[in-house]
Symmetry: C2
Subunit: 156 residues, 2 copies
DNA sequence: GGTGAAATGCCTGTGGG
DNA sequence: CCCACAGGCATTTCACC
């Protein structure tokens, strides 16, 4: 499965297939076949091509964090000491399962993370005991998401 | 499929099943069955329960945006006029397919979004022509993600 | 909760247009 | 790039433990 470093060209049929599977990864291929008027074998062929082109990077069950008691999402901008090696900080952030995303960003912060906690107390503990204690972390700025209104992938 | 508003209790077998399917939604149930030493029927039963409890909120094919030429991710904090009805702004943001997430947050910004663009020029166009032109948007603060190091779901 | 077996239906390779 | 078909499995349900 070589990932080519080019833009993959897809046609309308590919898009239809992808839209079905992006909404429900376990939808039977033959059902998609019936709905778009093409044979199952043709869809399998197209999917193989899309996979080896690197456009499809996998599939996931999506779990609802609220059902596990995770109700507080927050974004945290992290300021690191100038001398700090950022990859070291990232390595430590990876150890914290509540950290869902981590970015190097332009602007004031060195690192920007998205984090999911059970409640505000959990968030405070993470900040005080896990994040602020990482070597090189100077200070942080936290924004709590009161409500997420959009959550999606790029449109195909 | 009623979603109960409680914390769902899951055991170690549920966790194993979920971990397999969170990594690959199309993994055959019988293969999971063999790997964790339980029958396929039992897994189906557990999955039905997990779905009706609301813990599983679906499954998705994950596509690689780079393969479609989307190389620039950015976060944008949006300041709205005090008088502005935020839901109206969100409604307009929903029309912009490049907006992948949208949150109401604590702190200075009224709204915080994650956005995926092809390049910096595309980002600039979105800012100038789509976002700044939304009624009530006063100004914005943009942070470009130079590199995303972590991307995952909450651990089960 | 778990199992095993049976019916149904899917996946995927091949041959051919 | 597409289809049809067939063999081998996976899925799903059911009765039962």
């Amino acid at each position: 499965m070589k990932l080519k470093n080019e833009i993959v060209q897809i046609d309308g049929i590919d898009k239809k297939i992808l839209r079905f599977l992006m909404a429900d990864a376990r939808k039977p291929i033959l059902e998609i076949a019936r709905q778009i008027g093409i044979s199952g074998a043709a869809i399998h062929q197209r999917l193989r091509k899309l996979e080896s082109s690197g456009l499809i990077s996998g599939s996931k069950f999506i779990i609802n964090p609220k059902a596990l008691g995770y109700n507080t999402m927050a974004f945290i901008g992290i300021f690191l000491d100038k001398a700090m090696s950022n990859p070291d900080a990232v390595r430590q952030l990876k150890q914290i399962p509540e950290v869902l995303e981590c970015h190097y960003t332009t602007g004031n912060w060195s690192i920007f993370i998205k984090i999911l906690c059970q409640d505000n107390e959990h968030l405070m503990n993470l900040l005080n005991k896990e994040i602020q204690t990482i070597k090189g972390v100077q200070r942080t700025e936290t924004f709590i998401s009161l409500n997420q209104q959009i959550e999606r992938q790029i449109k195909v």
